[in-house]
Amino acid sequence: MPRVKTEDLKEGMVVAKDVKNIDDMLLLPAKCQLAGRQISILKAWGVAEIDVEASDLIENQDPLARLSPEVVAQLTAGVKARFWQADESNPVFAEIFKLMLWRQARKEPKV
């Protein structure tokens, strides 16, 4: 299930897991569909990101979400093979690698 930053949330997305604040107070329950008000609540409480159900709405956020683990593993290996050095602890490499993986994943046919 994809994790989406609060600023990237869109109306119509469905919350995948209960969202609680640091005092364990329930802000949004799982299965709740987001509307403007729900997104405002998350922003008001300073929630940085939440888990949502996979859907077409999040295609722009994480195109890996709609692919099977086997396909993701295959794409990951393919993208990694392009690099002479793959230092995953390096944040610059990690970001570029993610961009390349997502770019490749967007080219995959829809399942």
Partner: protein, 284 residues
């Protein structure tokens, strides 16, 4: 067999540019003249229908992002600017010059796709960093691997030795060049551009794009190209023979001060522009 020296490789290459050379010289002469105007420069370009169509294709492509359609060369020059037009024509003439190179090891379409993608990325990075004359960065990116073409064109035997070694085990193509020739495509490219009397910053950028710290001049251009070469290799847009994204120097990356979050828009810009730019520069 003894591999050729850089001088021997350059011996067979005339010190002037190809068919566009005449037009470029005419533009330069036009620019020095007190009667110079957009229409006289435009007329010089319009003598070559091929150049004219390239310029209009490029002017109307997402590379410049103009919404209205450019229909005349004078219009294109007034929007794009004469300096940029000169840079682009020069780049275009170099692509044309190498059109007959043996394609056994490197497909030319793919080579220029890689090179143009690197140029587009370099131009976008320069604009992001608010560096002056981003089109200069485009040309540096476009020409960064031109040394490979000199080797392929002037000494197919030495090129073959390089590729045989390269394909025999995991190594960078540049390492194979060093082992076989004692120098690499950066040095050949730098020497070629010096031979053609190109600006020193461009020579420095091409001659040091794998280790920009060694560039005496053009270090900034070399650094931008260093990063963009890495990025477009990672994107696998075209190929100049090298199949890996070469090592990215963290020192160079930090020296660029490019915010990491802008990389995503650079990748997007390259994807958006590459097909139109390729169509503008390559006839086929």
């Amino acid at each position: 067999m003894k591999p050729p020296s850089i001088e021997q490789l350059l011996n067979g290459i005339p010190s002037s540019l190809g068919s566009c050379g005449a037009v470029l010289r005419e533009i330069e002469a036009e620019l020095r003249s007190p009667q110079c105007s957009l229409s006289t420069v435009g007329a010089a370009i319009e003598k070559d229908p091929d150049l004219t169509s390239r310029l209009l294709r490029l002017g109307n492509s997402p590379f410049y992002g103009y919404t209205s359609r450019l229909t005349s060369v004078a219009e294109a020059i007034s929007l794009i600017g004469i300096q940029r037009v000169q840079d682009l024509l020069q780049a275009s003439s170099i692509i044309e010059r190498f059109s007959g190179v043996e394609e056994k090891y490197v497909n030319m379409q793919s080579f220029w796709r890689h090179s143009l993608a690197c140029g587009i990325a370099a131009r976008v990075v320069a604009m992001e960093l608010r560096l002056p004359k981003p089109d200069k960065f485009f040309v540096a990116g476009l020409l960064h691997d031109v040394g490979r073409l000199v080797l392929l064109g002037q000494s197919p035997d030495a090129a073959q030795q390089v590729f045989v070694l390269y394909n025999s085990r995991r190594m960078l193509l540049r390492e194979a060049e060093m082992k076989v020739l004692g120098f690499d495509h950066q040095q050949i490219g730098g020497a070629l551009l010096r031979h053609w009397k190109y600006p020193v910053a461009l020579v420095g950028a091409v001659a040091s794009h794998h280790h920009p710290a060694m560039a005496e001049v053009g270090r900034q251009e070399a650094s931008v190209v260093h990063f963009c070469d890495y990025l477009v290799n990672a994107m696998q847009i075209g190929c100049s023979g090298e199949q890996y994204a070469p090592p990215l120097s963290m020192k160079v990356w930090e020296g660029l001060h490019l915010p990491l979050e802008t990389v995503s828009s650079i990748v997007g810009a390259v994807d958006d522009q590459i097909d139109a730019v390729l169509a503008a520069f390559l006839r086929h």
